[in-house]
Each structure stands twice: as C-alpha cells, then as structure tokens.
Symmetry: C2
Subunit: 239 residues, 2 copies
C-alpha cells in the first residue's frame, strides 16, 4: 500500500464517487477530505485483516474490493464484493471491536480512510449521511439474515439454486429461461454458498442431467426457472 | 394481541426500561410514549411475521421474544432471544422492505410500537439514541457475519463446540472445566447451529465418549475446555 503525501493528496474529487456522502456541499466534502487518509492498494493486496484492531471507516474512491473470511482448512467464505462508491469497515468503526472480516483489493484501489473519532461528528452534522448509513446497515443485516437461513435450512442443491436465481437475468418477460453471462466459476459459487468446488460441480451436473441448466458457450442458461423455484421451495432439507 | 386504549395506556413508565432510550428526559420520553402504540401479546403469540409489510420499530417494555425463520421442512432457524429493554424490527423500519424474520412472544410481553415516520425525527433529535442504534446494528452484523462463517466453513461438530463454548461459564480462573446450567436442550442447540436434533444428540454422544463433555444432574460440564478449543480450531472441514 502507498500512503499519499499531502502535496499529491486527492482532494474532494476523491470523495465525489462515494454514495454515502452524496449531496454534501464542496465545503463539507473538503473538510472530510482533509480528515481522511488516502491510501492506494494494488490488485491482490490485503486492505484489512480480521482480528486486527484498527477501526477506520473505508470509502472506496476507485477500484473494487472483496470481503472474505478464511477457514483453517483454507476454504474461503465470501461475503460481498464492493465497487467504487461503496464503503466497508462500518462494523468495527461503530462497535469498537476488532475487524470481523478480511478485505482484499480486487483491482488497483484507492481508499479514503476516516478515523472513528471523525465519523461521529460527520454523522451528527449531516443527517442524510447518517440515514444512508443506517439504511445500508439494515440492508446488509437483511442479506446476512437470509444467508444464515439458507445455510441453516437448505441443502447444497437448494442453496446453489437460490444463488443461480439471484445471479440470473430473465431472457424476456414470461419466458421460462434466464441467463447468467458469463457463467459463474464453480470456485466462486462454492465460496458464496458455503460448500466445496467439487460439490458445486456435482450439483450443477445433476441439474444439467435433469434438464434444468445448460452450458451455452460462455453463458449458463437456466432452462426452466419455474421448476428451479419449485425445487427450491419444496425439497425437504437433508443434512 | 390487545391494543391498549388511550385511557389505560402505559405512559413513559413503559419506556423507562428501553436501553435504546436511556438518558432521555421525561419530557422526551413522554413525547415518544404518545407517538407509540402499546400492544400486549400472550406467551406463544406471533408479534411479527416474515414477508409482511408493516414497519414499526418494536420496543420491548416487558417480557421476552424470540426471532426465528421457519423452513418449508418445518425446521426452525433461531436468530436471537431478546429480553425486556431491547428492540427489534429495525431492519424493515430502516430499509422499508418487508419483514425478514418472524418474532414470537416467549412470555407475556408488552411492546411499544413506533411508526417508521416517527423514528427519523427521534434519531435526528437525540444523537445518543442514534449512536446506540448504529452500535446495535453493527454488533448484530458482527454476530451474523460470524454465524455465516461458522455455517459455511465448520462441520456440525465444530459448530456445536463453538456454541457450547459461547454458552459456558468457566468454573474458576485457570480451571479446565466450564459449565452450562441448566444443560441446553438438543432442539434449542439444533435451531441455533443449523442442524437436526438427532445430529446434535449424535455429536454430543461422540464428545461424551471422547471425555470432552459430561452430563452432571441438570448441568452440562465441558470437562476439557482447551481440547474443545483445539478441536474447533484444528479439525478440517467436512461436508
């Protein structure tokens, strides 16, 4: 990582893409830019490490990051990818405990770090920013709640179907097919639904044998979306 | 449930136990009490149903509630029990989408419901309340993140050990033993770690055979806490 010296420090321009700060005046953005520490990371670098004690709120000025945890077995548990304009690190910034996940730069990435003692005054002064942060936390909690449910109550095939349906774009209104373009990598699916790559490959092969999915060049076609939904809703849980 | 008519409506007294509102003046509490709708639920009644569209923030004036989801298979996925003084329903109150979980009264319970359009002004006017809500959301996100990790990367025995260690009270400093008193019910453990009651019973029997846990009257004794921790950290994942 590279800390940028003050002379070359991106000014408020670096904060313009941040959705959390949308609508703030140039003056307010300048104040935040002065309090922020801008840091560049190269693709693949670790931006944040689980269990460490730093507590900055991180604003993604440019680039893309991935939030993960690594199991002792080496298995990656993937939480979310966040694009430029998004934020991460809210949990430790707000509750004061160590980092609960690890964050990696997926591209060359520019982060504006805001120290926790600058966050409180910012939220107090600008209610729309505070409201957006509250709404973002609520939405992240909703996603995590759904994911705990799926991991607890659905078997691997059902979790795979749920994830494929989330990723797919319907071909046309009322059509039975939907597409994922490009086709998702089996390792990515495995890290997202909490299983092994081998198990994803087995379950995709089983869905293909049943005529429910079909590889088509670089895309994956869900051939019968309704029947996939039925299978998701109806199958009994297995352990 | 019983809506209380205005004449018998609990006044600010009903809001005094709510930790989110701690430190507010009697005048501020009276304003909130007037905006709130107090409702009584009997033990076992449903207070909130997943997928419904009401969006009140719910303050637990008295009693205790349980947040769950039910799978089509009938399996219960348990999120958390919340005591008097706590709040629930923040997610839909903040992001405006349908309820993402179901909430049941575990005892006779008195809820003060605050409509979403009363929540914004309350948070804007009282920064300590807003800060406490932010911290509570962050802490809930941390718990959910850990749970997604455990469900994704740990096998059933490891998840069981993690939950037993969370529930246990060490006997004395430096001692190898810890106790859970009373011993947890197998169905409760199953709903919490995302497996079946039968599987919990099998894994507890396996831990007992290895001398790691022992039933002692109404309590469960973890006889070798260090070896349980090692097993949690070291075992490879199985699927």
């Amino acid at each position: 990582m590279t800390h940028l010296p003050a002379s070359t420090s991106p000014t408020l321009l670096g904060l313009r893409p941040i959705r959390l700060l949308a609508g703030l005046s140039d003056e307010a953005l300048s104040d935040i830019a002065q309090a922020a520490q801008f840091t560049r990371y190269r693709r693949g670098q670790t931006i944040m490490t689980r269990e460490t004690h730093e507590r900055d709120l991180c604003l993604i000025s440019a680039g893309r990051v991935r939030v993960i945890m690594l199991a002792p077995s080496g298995r990656e548990v993937r939480f979310r990818d966040i694009q430029a304009g998004g934020v991460f690190g809210e949990i430790a910034a707000l509750d004061g405990k160590p980092r609960c996940a690890t964050v990696l730069a997926q591209e060359d990435t520019l982060i504006a770090r805001l120290a926790p003692d600058a966050l409180g005054p910012l939220l107090q002064r600008h209610w729309p920013v505070c409201e957006r942060l509250l709404r973002g936390l609520a939405s992240a909690m909703r996603d995590l709640t759904d994911r705990v449910y799926e991991l607890s109550a659905l078997n691997v095939q059902q979790r795979l179907i749920a994830e494929l349906l989330r990723q797919a774009t319907p071909a046309h209104d009322g059509e039975a097919r939907a597409w994922i373009d490009p086709a998702p990598r089996h390792t990515d699916l495995a890290a997202t639904i909490g299983t092994s790559r081998e198990q994803v490959s087995r379950e995709l092969a089983a869905l293909a044998r049943d005529g429910l999915v079909q590889r088509d060049d670089d895309r994956l076609c869900l051939t019968l979306v309704d029947r996939l939904s039925d299978r998701l809703a109806g199958l009994a849980t297995t352990d």
